[in-house]
C-alpha cells in the first residue's frame, strides 16, 4: 500500500475518532401491548426509515414516502413485522393484522400497526420474542410498554435480550372482586337510566291500587315485601343476561339494548299513571331486568375483565350493582313510607314524578333509537 493511500484510509478513521458521537436517534420501535381485555391488543410503531431500508417503500424512488406508497405495502409490512414478533401466553398466540396508520415520534414519522393476538390459554405470564431489524441493524431496540392487570411493564429488546417473559399478575381474586364491586356501585349511580328505573319501580310500591285509585298500604311490612319482590325480580333477571352476555353466549347490538332500556323506563312510568298491569308488576320488571343486564354487560366489556379472575370479577360487579340499588332503596323507601298517606305523595311525587320520568325517558328513547 502506498503512503498516500494509507494516509487517506487513515484520515477517514482519524476523523471518526476525533468526532463526538452522532446526534440522530438510533433506530427504535415502540411496541405497546395490552393484555387487560379478553384479547391481547397491540400497536407497534416502526420508523418509516427502517421499513424503507428493510423492505423498500419508496416505490417511485423519488426519496419521498407517500401515504399511498405506504398503504399499498400494507400486507407486506404486516407480514414482515408480525413475522418477527412472537407472543406466548401459556401457549403460542396467533397474531392478526389490524389497521395501518401513521404517527409522529421525535425523529420522524412511523407506521402505526394495530394488531391483536389470540392466545389459546389465559396464562399468567406473557413471553415476547422480538427480532425486528436485528439482522440488519443490531443497534435497533424494541421498546415495549405492556399494560396488564398487574400494572405496566416497560422493557427494552436487543439482540442479547430478544426474548423476555413478563408476569401478568396472577390476579388477586379478592382484589379483583372488590375492584369490580366498586365499579358496579359506581355504574349504577352514574347511570341515570338505571336510577330512574329503580325510582319508578319504588314509588308505587308503598301504595296499592284499589277500584281505580291509589291507596296507601296499611302495613309497612307489606310494602317492604312488595319492594323486595320487585328488586329481586329485577336483580335475578339482569344477573342472568349479564352473565350470558359477558360469557359470550348472547350478543345484542348496543343500540337496541340502550333504546330498549329507555323504553322500559317509559313503560314503567306510564304504568304508574295509567296502570295496565297493576298487579304482578314483578313480571314486567323481570322482563325489563333481562334488558338492563345487557346494558351492564356492555359496561363490563368496556372495562375489560381480567383473565384468570373472570368469574370473581363478574360476581363482584353484580354484587356492586345490587349494593348500589339497595342504597337507593334505603334512601327512598323510608321517605316513601312516611309520606305514602298524603295526597302530595300521590299527586306530586307519584303522578308528576312519573310523568316527568316518562318524558325524559321518551327523549332518551328517541335519541338512542334514532340517533338524533
Amino acid at each position: 500500500m502506498s503512503i498516500a493511500r494509507r494516509a487517506v484510509v487513515l484520515l477517514v478513521c482519524v476523523f471518526w475518532a476525533a468526532m463526538p458521537a452522532s446526534a440522530h436517534k438510533p433506530s427504535d420501535s415502540y411496541l405497546n401491548i395490552d393484555t387487560r381485555g379478553e384479547q391481547v391488543e397491540g400497536r407497534w410503531d416502526i420508523a418509516l426509515r427502517d421499513l424503507e431500508y428493510a423492505l423498500g417503500l419508496d416505490g417511485n424512488a423519488d426519496g419521498a414516502i407517500t401515504w399511498g406508497e405506504l398503504k399499498s405495502r400494507r400486507a407486506v409490512i404486516f407480514a414482515y413485522a408480525l413475522g418477527r414478533l412472537s407472543l406466548a401466553r401459556g401457549a403460542t398466540c396467533t397474531t392478526r393484522a389490524g389497521g395501518l396508520q401513521v404517527t409522529d415520534h421525535t425523529d420522524g414519522v412511523y407506521a402505526a400497526l394495530d394488531f391483536s393476538a389470540d392466545c389459546p390459554d389465559q396464562g399468567a405470564s406473557l413471553t415476547v420474542g422480538y427480532r425486528l431489524l436485528f439482522d440488519i441493524d443490531p443497534s435497533h431496540r424494541g421498546l415495549l410498554r405492556l399494560d396488564s392487570s398487574a400494572g405496566t411493564h416497560t422493557a427494552v429488546f436487543s439482540p442479547a435480550r430478544a426474548r423476555q417473559t413478563f408476569d401478568l399478575g396472577s390476579v388477586n381474586a379478592v382484589q379483583a372482586f372488590l375492584q369490580y364491586l366498586v365499579q358496579g356501585i359506581h355504574h349504577i349511580w352514574i347511570g341515570a337510566d338505571h336510577v330512574l328505573f329503580v325510582l319508578t319501580l319504588l314509588l308505587p310500591a308503598v301504595l296499592v291500587r284499589e277500584s281505580g285509585r291509589w291507596l296507601a298500604r296499611t302495613s309497612v311490612r307489606s310494602a317492604v315485601v312488595e319492594v323486595t319482590r320487585l328488586v329481586t325480580a329485577f336483580t335475578v333477571a339482569h344477573s342472568i343476561t349479564l352473565a350470558l352476555a359477558v360469557l359470550g353466549f348472547v350478543d345484542l347490538p348496543s343500540r337496541l339494548v340502550e333504546s330498549t332500556i329507555a323504553l322500559s323506563v317509559v313503560v314503567l312510568a306510564l304504568n304508574n299513571l295509567v296502570p295496565i298491569i297493576p298487579q304482578g308488576r314483578w313480571l314486567l320488571v323481570f322482563g325489563f331486568g333481562l334488558i338492563h343486564g345487557f346494558g351492564f354487560a356492555s359496561v363490563l366489556g368496556d372495562l375489560g375483565l381480567p383473565a384468570g379472575a373472570l368469574a370473581v370479577s363478574l360476581v363482584g360487579f353484580n354484587v356492586g350493582v345490587e349494593i348500589g340499588q339497595l342504597a337507593i332503596v334505603a334512601v327512598v323507601l323510608p321517605v316513601a313510607l312516611l309520606l305514602r298517606g298524603t295526597t302530595f305523595y300521590r299527586l306530586a311525587i307519584l303522578g308528576l314524578g312519573s310523568a316527568a320520568v316518562a318524558v325524559v325517558a321518551a327523549y332518551w328513547f328517541v335519541t338512542r333509537a334514532f340517533g338524533y
Binding site: 494509507r6 487513515l10 419521498a64 401515504w67 399511498g68
Partner: protein, 399 residues
C-alpha cells in the same frame, strides 16, 4: 493494559450501568403512545429520505457482500462506507448497518475488523468495549496507526492524558507528521502546556504544504479549542471560521463555534447558522440556548426534551453531557443536572464535561460535588481561563 479480565469487565459495565441508571432515572418518563392518524390523501408525503441516494450508491457493494458472503474485502469496504456515512450524516443507524455487515466476521481476529468494531463502539461512547478491541490489535501490531490514533482519542476523552500522549508519540513514523502533531498537541494542551501545544500545532500547520481538507479542519478546530482555553476568543473565532469555510456542515465544529457565539451574546447569529440543523441533538441544544425566552426556543427545548426522553427509554447515554447542560441552563434544575453531570464525569472528562460539572455544583450549592473534577484538574495542571474563573466562584461559595 488494565481492561482485561473479569474484574475489569465488571468494573466497566458497572461504570456504564451507572450512567444508564442516572440518565434513565433522571429523565422524566412519559412513554405513552402518541396518537395515530390516517393522512387525508394518498399523495401526502410522510417522510423524505435524505439518505436514499447514498444508499443507492452503495447498492453494488451491498450486492457484492450478499453474493460473496465469504469474502472479507467487500464486507470491510461496505462497513467503512457505512461508518463514513454515519459520520457525515451524524446518523447512528449507519453504525448499526456497519455492525450488521461485520457481524459474520466478528468472532475472527482480523485487525481491520477489530479496528472497525472499535470505531463503532467508540462512536457510541462504549469506550471500554472499544479499548478491549484496540488493545488486542496493538498488542500484536504496535505500528497499526488507525488503532493507535483511535485509542489516543478515547484515552483523551476519558481524561487519561498521559496515556493518550504516549499513544500519540508512538504514532511517529507510522503516519503523516501533521497527524502526529495534532494528536500530541491536543494531549499536551490538556496537561499543563497549553501555550506550547498551541504554538507547536500552529507552526506545523503553517509549514506543512498541501494539507488535505479534513486534516486542516481537524487542526483548525483543535487550535480554536486551545485558543478558547487560553482566553483568546477572537483568535479562536478566526480558526473556527476558517475551518467552517472548508467544512460548513461539520457538527462538532458548528457546536464549538455556536458555544463561542453564545458566550458573546450573538444569539441571532447562532439561530441563523443552525436553524436548519434541528435534527442534530448537539446543535438543537445550541438552538434552544440561543432561542431561550422566545416561541422558537420553547419549541426547540420541548423537542430536545422529547429526544432525551426517547433516548432514555432505550438506555442511550451518548448525550449525557448535553442533557446535563440542558437540564442546568434550560430546565434550571441544578440538582438533577448535577446528578447527570457527575454520572457523565465517570465516563468522559473533556473540557465541556468539566464545565458542566462545575456549573451544576455551583448552581446546586454543592461545591463538594465538584471535588473529583477539581482533583483531576490539579493532577493534570490543567489550564483554562474560564474554568479558572468558575473554580474561584465555586471556592467563594464554599467559604
Amino acid at each position: 493494559m488494565g481492561c482485561k479480565g473479569p474484574k475489569a469487565r465488571l468494573a466497566r459495565h458497572a461504570l456504564r450501568g451507572g450512567l444508564v441508571l442516572a440518565c434513565v432515572a433522571l429523565t422524566p418518563a412519559t412513554g405513552v403512545a402518541s396518537p395515530a392518524y390516517r393522512p387525508d390523501s394518498d399523495a401526502t408525503v410522510l417522510e423524505r429520505l435524505p439518505a436514499s441516494a447514498e444508499l443507492q450508491q452503495l447498492q453494488p457493494l451491498r450486492d457484492a457482500v450478499e453474493t460473496f458472503p465469504n469474502r472479507l474485502a467487500p464486507a470491510l469496504e461496505l462497513a467503512r462506507a457505512y461508518i463514513e456515512l454515519s459520520r457525515q450524516r451524524a446518523d447512528p443507524r449507519y453504525l448499526g448497518y456497519a455492525e450488521a455487515t461485520l457481524e459474520p466476521w466478528s468472532t475472527g481476529a482480523s485487525p481491520p475488523i477489530k479496528v472497525l468494531r472499535a470505531t463503532i463502539a467508540q462512536s457510541r461512547h462504549e469506550f471500554e468495549d472499544a479499548l478491549v478491541l484496540l488493545n488486542q490489535v496493538l498488542d500484536r501490531d504496535p505500528g497499526n496507526a488507525q488503532a493507535r490514533i483511535t485509542r489516543a482519542t478515547i484515552r483523551q476523552v476519558q481524561g487519561r492524558i498521559a496515556d493518550a500522549a504516549s499513544d500519540c508519540q508512538q504514532l511517529a513514523g507510522h503516519t503523516a507528521v501533521l497527524v502526529v502533531v495534532i494528536c500530541h498537541s491536543n494531549a499536551r494542551s490538556l496537561k499543563g502546556d497549553l501555550d506550547g501545544a498551541y504554538d507547536e500545532l500552529s507552526r506545523t500547520l503553517k509549514s506543512t504544504p498541501g494539507v488535505p481538507a479534513t486534516l486542516r479542519v481537524w487542526a483548525l478546530t483543535s487550535l480554536g479549542e486551545m485558543a478558547v482555553r487560553q482566553g483568546r476568543d477572537e483568535i479562536a473565532r478566526a480558526h473556527y471560521e476558517d475551518a467552517l469555510k472548508i467544512a460548513p456542515d461539520d457538527i462538532y465544529l458548528q457546536a464549538a463555534y455556536a458555544d463561542l457565539l453564545l458566550r458573546h451574546g450573538e444569539k441571532a447569529r447562532v439561530i441563523q447558522l443552525l436553524r436548519e440543523r434541528e435534527g442534530q441533538d448537539v446543535l438543537l441544544l445550541r438552538l434552544a440556548l440561543a432561542g431561550a425566552g422566545t416561541e422558537d426556543g420553547r419549541r426547540w427545548a420541548t423537542t430536545l426534551a422529547d429526544r432525551f426522553d426517547a433516548a432514555a427509554r432505550r438506555g442511550d447515554t451518548t448525550h449525557a453531557r448535553e442533557q446535563a447542560r440542558f437540564t442546568l441552563v434550560i430546565e434550571q434544575e441544578p440538582e438533577r443536572a448535577l446528578a447527570l453531570a457527575r454520572a457523565n464525569w465517570d465516563v468522559q472528562k473533556e473540557p465541556a464535561d468539566i464545565e458542566v460539572l462545575l456549573r451544576s455544583a455551583q448552581a446546586a450549592g454543592q461545591p463538594d460535588a465538584a471535588e473529583p473534577a477539581l482533583a483531576w484538574l490539579s493532577t493534570h495542571s490543567y489550564q483554562d481561563q474560564r474554568i479558572r474563573a468558575l473554580i474561584s466562584d465555586l471556592q467563594s461559595t464554599s467559604q
